[in-house]
């Protein structure tokens, strides 16, 4: 436990001084993307890692968050902070509806239902031209500034945005920590391990599953809002199936059902596609092979896999 605490402190320190060491805008950009991906991964991890429900439609919540936040800014001139609240409210509400409908089903049915919902929303975003401008997308979503007792910080600056995301990620990790170590978390895990047994000891599985989806959706919506205000342009691509798949891979690669897993996964899965650029046009094909390898050989995450390897090596020598 003490070792863990030191490790956490080191990570915190490392991420705090990171912008001071590497000032290159490209590295800052990657770090911000990692932050956004971490939030999404935490959101999936709550659902997949702790209750065992696989959603391949999480792009729906991400996209709704991005659009909600962008639209309240563009139409009502609500700044990003309000946009974030709106994004979380809309995504959370959508999550509630989806969960109400989808948790009549489990397994493959549930997965396909979530995909269907994301696809419908993508088509709505593409075709409700009056509201979303369709395939043209929404532009000029501005980043606000933050006033702290006379001191104004321009969040358009990459470093400032990085610290904002860092704060959000740590907030969500802490939230996740508190949640999974509460009676809620124990209920979630019992549902993951054996739903029938959980129900038989009096856990209202349906209710807990709805709660977890609402929280998960709200976090994904927040990630969407932060994304929209960072890139300042969104189009229906935010609902892409690929995003949903990627986030699930992130969580599995990092280690599902662990606190650090989503972050490790986010770092890996933001950097791997970048490293694969050396393959040129074949990049995505190689990436697909990486995905298959991770799914088959590291179903419990890369850390678990490395630990296993180390244990094996010790036994051999």
């Amino acid at each position: 436990m003490k070792q863990n605490r030191i490790l956490i402190l080191l990570c915190l320190l490392g991420s705090l001084v990171y912008p001071l060491v590497l000032k290159d805008p490209y590295f800052m950009h990657m770090a911000i993307l990692i932050g956004i991906y971490s939030l999404l991964a935490i959101s999936i991890n709550l659902l997949l890692g702790y209750t065992g429900q696989l959603s391949l439609g999480h792009a729906a919540f991400f996209g709704v968050g991005a659009y909600a936040s962008a639209l309240v800014y563009l139409n009502l001139k609500v700044p990003m902070w309000g946009g974030m609240v709106a994004a979380m409210a809309f995504s959370g509400a959508l999550g509630w509806i989806v969960a109400k409908l989808a948790f009549k089903l489990r397994g493959a049915y549930f997965v396909i239902m979530t995909i269907g919902i994301a696809e419908v929303l993508k088509l709505v975003a593409l075709n409700w031209i009056d509201l979303t401008k369709g395939p043209m997308g929404l532009t000029d979503i501005a980043v606000p500034s933050l006033s702290l007792g006379g001191l104004t910080i321009d969040l358009g600056e990459k470093t400032a945005y990085y610290y904002l995301l860092l704060f959000m990620v740590f907030l969500c990790v802490y939230l996740q920590y508190r949640l999974v170590h509460s009676s809620f978390g124990r209920a979630f895990i019992s549902i993951r391990e054996n739903e029938d047994l959980a129900a038989s000891v009096g856990i209202n599985c349906y209710k807990y599953l709805i709660i977890v989806v609402v929280i998960s959706a709200a976090i994904a919506g927040m990630a969407g809002s932060l994304y929209a205000h960072y890139v300042s342009f969104i189009d229906p691509g935010v609902f892409a199936f690929f995003i949903s798949v990627n986030v699930v891979m992130t969580v599995i690669g990092g280690g599902q059902g662990t606190l650090a897993g989503p972050i490790i996964g986010a770092i890996l899965f933001t950097l791997i596609p970048e490293w694969l650029r050396v393959f040129g046009d074949a990049r995505m094909a190689v990436y697909a092979v990486v995905v298959i390898v991770i799914v088959i050989f590291m179903p419990r995450g890369i850390l678990h896999y490395l630990a296993q390897l180390a244990a094996l090596r010790k036994r051999v020598s």
Binding site: K104, A108, E119, F241, A282, V291, I292, V295
Partner: protein
């Protein structure tokens, strides 16, 4: 009224090809319990192989179709043997995600081979339509519905009349009992997966000349296949046919009377409604939703 009938007929023609995709997916799902996310990619490959053999190499259309379907079956065979077989005892999620990886791989390899530029397979049939009672029938489309019908009948006969078919049905009903009776499950699985791939490829060769061909057509085909399988009931053969035709008709009517932009959403809306009100599908068994 004529317009309405024309929409129905157009829908049934496309629906015939949808039924083929649906049957393939429902067999793989029902017999192997594999959620095949790469099914749409088999459809895409079928269309692309036809493009290569027919448009590029100038082989006879029907022969090119046959070659394309065989080539896709080969791809399916290799994947089943190399990846799916070792994963047999793993959780459904692992298999599902490996299928997604496979679908990504095929899509991107297709993009490397054929470039992302959409290609058109020029129809070898005359473009003058036959008219009957004010309704138009393009020769190309008549061919589509005839071949689709033929393949459905053939698959049906295969399942009902042959020993392999009997073994497949036995595996569907009870895996362990079937293997105790001396049915070689591995062979049945390979055969089922290859058959499913072949049916999807056949649909690809049928619809390829009607629509354009690009590396991402598999995504939509896949989504529609899932819609069909769920509407028809997972693992139900007649269900997949009914749902395929229904989806074709609904899309055609929706595009005609509501908006062609939302044509592709119709399937998903049907899917969500079915999942909410009758999750076992129109023709599925009750109590199978987990």
């Amino acid at each position: 009224m004529t317009v309405f009938l024309q929409y129905i007929i157009n829908g049934l023609i496309i629906g015939g090809a949808y039924a083929l995709i649906g049957i393939g997916l429902t067999l793989v799902l029902g017999i192997m319990n594999v959620v095949n996310f790469a099914h749409g990619e088999m459809y895409m490959l079928g269309a692309y192989f036809l493009f290569t053999f027919f448009t590029r190499m100038g082989i006879n259309f029907y022969l090119a179709m046959l070659l394309a379907i065989t080539a896709v079956m080969l791809v399916g065979f290799v994947y089943e043997r190399s990846i799916l077989k070792p994963l047999r005892r793993r959780s459904i999620e692992t298999v599902m995600l490996s299928m997604i990886g496979f679908s990504l791989l095929i899509q991107n390899v297709a993009m490397l081979i054929w470039t992302p530029v959409p290609e058109a397979i020029k129809s070898p049939f005359p473009l003058t339509a036959y008219t009957l009672a004010g309704l138009y029938f393009l020769p190309q489309r008549i061919m589509v519905i005839c071949v689709a019908f033929l393949l459905v009948i053939l698959t049906h006969l295969l399942l009902k009349k042959t020993k392999t078919g009997k073994a497949m049905r036995a595996t569907f009903q009870d895996l362990e009992a079937a293997s105790l009776m001396g049915i070689r499950i591995d062979r049945i699985y390979s055969f089922t997966f290859v058959l499913g791939a072949g049916l999807a490829a056949a649909a690809g060769t049928l619809l390829g000349p009607i629509f354009t061909v690009h590396p991402y057509i598999g995504n939509l085909a896949n989504a529609k296949a899932f819609v069909i399988v769920i509407i028809g009931g997972m693992g139900s053969f007649p269900g997949a046919i009914t749902a395929g035709l229904l989806l074709g008709v609904f899309e055609s009517l929706g595009a005609g009377y509501i908006s062609s932009a939302f044509q592709d959403a119709i399937g998903f809306v049907l899917l969500i409604l079915i999942l909410v009100y009758r999750p076992t599908g129109l023709l599925g068994k009750v109590g199978q939703t987990r």
